[in-house]
């Protein structure tokens, strides 16, 4: 089985490389990490971390159509909230492979993402829940769920970049 042969180190390498793309604002390259049709990016509201986006108001619920649009908006210069772009630093730790679901590997990790902008340093703190599809020595992201541990987006104010 695909899942059983994968090591944590391989998953970590993938996540660290992904973080590097995000911190470098290489968003087209980052987008290419997703499964082109079934991929998705989700961020529940801070008061409803364990909910479903079809019935609960999320902060972000992007299927691939929306995610491609999000990236094109971020790179267009028209996303004023990220123009000029924030400096970010994605820190990932506590990476664990939890099991499999169908052909996807279930991965959990902790994160602290620092956003530096206009002399403010705002830490976004939480957990990633990934569904990763092993593909030819690397992975495709089926689902990237970003669950904030923050009680609210105060004073962060917005989630305008990719956490």
């Amino acid at each position: 089985m695909a899942g059983t042969a994968v090591t944590r180190a391989e998953v970590e390498d993938f996540l660290f490389a992904e973080a590097d793309l995000l911190d470098g604002w290489q968003l087209d390259e980052w987008l290419a990490l997703f499964d082109e049709e079934r991929g998705g990016l989700y961020m529940p509201s801070t008061d409803s971390p364990d909910s479903t986006h079809t019935e609960t108001l999320f902060l972000i619920a992007d299927n691939m159509t929306r995610l491609r649009s999000r990236v094109s908006q971020l790179l267009s210069g028209l996303t004023w909230a990220e123009n000029p772009p924030s400096r970010t630093n994605h820190m990932i730790s506590n990476v664990r492979i939890l099991g499999t679901e169908g052909d996807a590997l279930l991965v959990k990790a902790n994160f602290v993402v620092y956003r530096m902008r206009f002399q403010n340093i705002d830490p976004y703190i939480g957990k990633y829940r990934y569904k990763l599809l092993p593909r030819a020595g690397t992975f495709k992201i089926l689902e990237r769920r970003v669950i904030l541990d923050l009680e609210s987006l105060r004073p962060h104010g917005k989630v305008s970049f990719i956490v």
């Binding site: 961020m43 529940p44 509201s45 801070t46 008061d47 409803s48 909910s51 986006h53 079809t54 019935e55 609960t56 108001l57 999320f58 902060l59 972000i60 619920a61 159509t65 929306r66 491609r68 649009s69 999000r70 094109s72 908006q73 267009s76 028209l78 996303t79 004023w80 909230a81 990220e82 206009f118 403010n120 009680e151 609210s152 987006l153 105060r154 004073p155 962060h156 104010g157 917005k158 989630v159 305008s160």
Partner: protein, 434 residues
């Protein structure tokens, strides 16, 4: 009353020449902020929450309203109460959860005083230590001085002498009813809690600003809408040119309340295009139900909604996305914002999902528009550091009845006229129009 004399000069309202200015100290001055607290937030009906957030006996939420921690609770008697969240003994928060279901008591952990869900003090450990003058019955959790439940919308006031809710609302009540007539309305689970490093009045202005949309939210029109297969827009010319935003019918509603879309201009919003495209059959079914209930004319009015409107001082309702939004300043340059989706319980799961998709296409801290509003208002606040040199903001658009050149700023002037009157006289303004 030096401060009041200062407040008088914060606005230039020259109806004859068609000039309206706001002095930028209104956004940065700590004394003005304190005056706003005592003259506006302590003396208005304030939106606190929605009954659907605590539907059953024993259900509660805690929420800070105008700086006060409150428990909104449905008692074991089914009654809704807004109780001050502070133990009558020594002050600790009695309830420290954001929300809960089926509570039977609130117990202060500090010394173990116990209150029931009606707020009555039911248990005092070692009560024998108190004299006969100690009146346990008088030491229930203090309710907010005034509370009013209008069709599930819970408003409170910290002014025991305030006018009735109906008098305060004036013509705004019919507009709110138009929003609530969409169905058996509920706050969808998922509460958007965010903030801006900006003065709260900037968000009042921004939330009903037709002028900024084409610029601040250009990406929504040029990227998001076409990506969804809906009518978009090409880039705005850099040399200005005509403003493509439609003019909304701004109507002062009395007491500082104002709407930018009621009665409706007759055009269905872009939200309808989205719902039609992605929930075609479901929307048709919903419309039939609405028509059956309200007749064709009224149901169309309900579906169109009332644009973006303000219930003074700080409840914004945006019918195009079914947004309820309220915000409180904790200082002159920072506000905490609460956002919700208020949608009908009659929604099928498919329709609800599509409504939420539309909401997230624009609204909320992760949406495709709201973050740029945050950025703009925080930028304004940074710019106000120059207020000793650059003293005035201009809010004159559309005065003297001018309709050429796109949206007016009348809705902001309505807010500022009430704000100014409250600060200087403590009373509602005499005249809101231009």
């Amino acid at each position: 009353m030096q401060e009041v004399r200062n407040a008088a000069g914060l606005i230039v309202d020259d109806r004859e020449s068609g000039i309206f200015r706001v002095h930028r100290s209104a956004f940065v001055d700590k004394d003005i902020f304190e005056l706003e607290r005592s003259r506006i937030f302590d003396r208005s009906w304030l939106f606190a929450g929605h009954a659907s957030e605590f539907p059953d006996p024993g259900d509660f939420i805690t929420r800070t309203v105008a700086g006060r921690p409150l428990i909104l609770v449905r008692g074991d008697d089914g009654k809704i109460r807004a109780l001050m969240n502070t133990c009558r003994h020594r002050g600790n928060l009695v309830c420290r959860d954001h929300k809960g279901k089926g509570a039977e008591i609130f117990r202060c952990f500090y010394h173990g005083w116990v209150y029931n869900t009606r707020g009555d003090l039911k248990g005092v450990p070692g009560e024998d230590a108190y004299s006969d003058a100690f009146d346990r019955d008088a030491l229930g959790l203090e309710p907010a001085p005034r509370m009013h439940n209008h069709r599930g919308c819970i408003f409170v006031s910290f002014d025991p002498e305030i006018e009735s809710f109906e008098d305060f609302m004036g013509a705004a009540l019919a507009v709110l009813d138009n929003t609530l007539d969409l169905g058996d309305m509920e706050f969808v689970q998922g509460h958007l809690k965010y903030s801006m490093r900006a003065n709260w009045k900037l968000l009042v202005e921004n939330s009903m600003d037709g002028y900024h949309a084409a610029f601040t939210h250009e990406r929504f029109f040029t990227h998001f809408m076409p990506a969804m297969g809906l009518e978009g827009r090409t880039r705005m010319p850099l040399d200005g040119g005509p403003n493509p935003s439609p003019i909304s019918p701004t109507i002062p509603l009395g007491n500082g309340h104002v709407t930018t879309g009621y009665p409706s201009s007759g055009r269905l919003s872009q939200g309808h295009d989205y719902l039609e495209k992605y929930a075609t059959g479901e929307m048709e079914k919903y419309r039939q139900m609405l028509t059956l209930r309200h007749g064709p004319d009224k149901s169309r009015m309900i579906e169109q909604g009332a644009g973006n409107y303000l219930i003074f001082p700080n409840l914004i309702i945006i019918d195009g996305w079914r947004v309820f939004r309220t915000f409180y300043p904790s200082s002159q340059d920072y506000m905490e914002i609460n956002g919700w989706a208020c949608m009908p319980k009659e929604d099928s799961p498919e329709l609800r999902n599509v409504r939420l998709e539309w909401y997230l296409g624009f609204q909320g801290p992760g949406g495709f528009a709201t973050p740029d509003d945050v950025e703009a208002l925080e930028g304004c606040q940074m710019g106000f550091a120059t207020q000793k040199e650059v003293e005035w903001s201009d809010i004159s658009r559309g005065m003297k009845g001018i309709t050429a050149g796109g949206p007016s700023e009348l809705q902001m002037r309505v807010f500022w006229r009430e704000w100014h009157s409250r600060l200087t006289t403590g009373q509602h303004a005499a005249e809101y129009g231009d």
